[in-house]
């Protein structure tokens, strides 16, 4: 599959559909035979739109910004929660933040710096789900 053409978002969407169907099947959710068809039917077009926007963001960050160095960030799964760099939108009540473990990143974050010698600053904290 040639991912360098204009059909890149569609190709990524098809890959994501197949991957998601496999994950659901491994977890016993839905019929493994129908999962791909159902996901394609209800979410393929939206996924293609999502990856089109992601591709545009890739172009903007990688080629069109020089005044400020930017990077889209996610928090690695299984790491401890740090409120300085991330935001917990689904925090369980009664659990201290220092003991929370990140399950996944639900919203992407954005880091950036204006000069090479500066430290990357958080422009937008990634939102995570912890437990």
């Amino acid at each position: 599959m040639d991912l360098s053409h204009e059909n890149l978002p569609r190709a990524i969407a098809n890959d994501a559909v197949q991957h998601l169907a496999d994950l659901l099947s491994f977890r016993g959710v839905g019929n493994p035979i129908d999962n791909v068809t159902n996901i394609k039917k209800h979410g393929a077009e939206k996924l293609e739109t999502l990856f089109t926007a992601a591709r545009k963001l890739n172009t903007m960050i990688g080629q069109n910004i020089v005044s400020e160095e930017l990077a889209v960030t996610v928090v690695p799964c299984g790491t401890l929660f740090e409120g300085e760099f991330m935001e917990d939108t689904h925090a369980r009540v009664g659990v201290k933040p220092a003991r929370r473990t990140v399950i996944c990143t639900t919203d992407l974050g954005l880091w950036g710096r204006k000069q090479a010698k500066e430290v990357m600053k958080v422009l937008s904290k990634p939102k995570v789900a912890t437990w």
């Binding site: 360098s4 994950l23 159902n38 939206k46 910004i65 020089v66 400020e68 950036g112």
Partner: protein
């Protein structure tokens, strides 16, 4: 044109010179023959010799026929002119054949006197005509000589002008050759400058790409796009939770499941319930959001979307192109190098 001007006087001069030479021939012969003659013995012979008609005019001789006409014509015609000699001979023959010569007495003297006077008249008229003709020829000759002189002068001037033009042309040709050499050198310099310009254009291509498009998007635009992306992820996850069948179909399998963040998310959040029961929609929505966020992150941070055999070469070329960016950036993480498929290894 120039050859015609030169040859025309020669064509005219040659017949005139030949005619004058022809007219001068008897006198010259006579002049050359005189020293070889025997010396004259008496005055009568001297007078008879000097009394011969002079038809050829010298350069300083007067053309008036009456002043230099011979008073005592000779008894025998010794004129050197061939035409005159023939005419005189015919006349003599006619005289002997058609007119019987008187024997003696006054009749014969009268006859000779009349005949002499008539012959003198005809000779004088012929002499006058020839003299006039000679005068015209001489006049024409002088005109031709003048014309020849003027033409020769003009030819000399034209030849000098021609030589001057040839010299100027040679100088111009030398200057033109020098200018051609200079143009050749300038062309070589221009070619070298063009090659150098192309090389520098290639060197500054990356920098020009970044510098020229620096103001195309601002940081706030990127932030807004990230927010839109997150919103899109949330909507897609919610839509899939609402539309997909979420009942448990089979027992979860632990074999063959690839290790990585995706499996970690789903194995943590998607907990299977009893047979036929649905999974928790909130947990599944979080898992779908985490799944889509990882995919979007992989796309936004991907350095290359090609994952063939030359993936490393492509990566190396991109690193070389943005070497300046690498120098001011922290060491790239593994996730930066990975393509979309590369996240499977996480």
């Amino acid at each position: 044109m120039r050859l015609d001007l030169i040859t025309r006087p020669i064509v005219w001069i040659c017949p005139v010179a030949w005619f004058l030479d022809l007219m001068k021939t008897p006198q010259a012969e006579e002049a050359t023959a005189q020293p070889q003659r025997a010396p004259l013995e008496n005055q009568d012979q001297i007078e008879a010799a000097t009394a011969q008609p002079q038809y050829i005019l010298s350069d300083n001789q007067d053309l008036d026929p009456t002043s230099k006409m011979p008073q005592n014509p000779p008894k025998t015609q010794t004129n050197a002119s061939g035409g005159d000699r023939k005419m005189v001979g015919n006349h003599t023959n006619g005289r002997h054949e058609g007119h019987p010569r008187p024997v003696s007495g006054t009749g014969s003297q009268q006859y000779y006197a009349e005949h002499r006077s008539g012959r003198e008249d005809s000779s004088q008229s012929r002499f006058r005509a020839q003299a006039a003709h000679l005068k015209r020829i001489e006049r024409n000759y002088e005109q031709l000589v003048d014309e020849h002189g003027s033409l020769q002068h003009n030819y000399t001037k034209l030849y000098q002008a021609h030589q001057t033009t040839i010299a100027d042309l040679r100088e111009t040709q030398v200057a033109c050759n020098g200018q051609q050499q200079e143009i050749k050198m300038l062309r070589e310099k221009l070619r070298g400058a063009s090659a150098l310009s192309d090389v520098r254009n290639q060197e500054l291509k990356v920098a020009r790409t970044f510098l020229s498009k620096g103001d195309l998007f601002s940081t706030s635009d990127v932030v807004q796009l990230v927010r839109d992306l997150n919103s899109e992820i949330m909507q897609i996850a919610a839509h899939l939770v609402e539309t997909l069948p979420l009942k448990r179909f089979c027992t979860p399998s632990a074999q063959g499941v690839p290790e990585g963040w995706y499996n970690y998310i789903f194995s943590t959040l998607v907990v299977p319930q009893g047979p036929g029961e649905e999974v928790d929609k909130g947990s599944l929505e979080l898992a779908l959001q985490g799944f889509l966020a990882l995919y979007a992150h992989a796309v936004t941070n991907a350095w290359s979307f090609s994952h063939g055999s030359d993936w490393c070469d492509t990566l190396y070329s991109k690193v070389c192109e943005i070497g300046t960016l690498i120098q001011r950036s922290p060491l790239p993480t593994v996730s930066n190098y990975l393509s979309v498929r590369g996240l499977d290894c996480c």
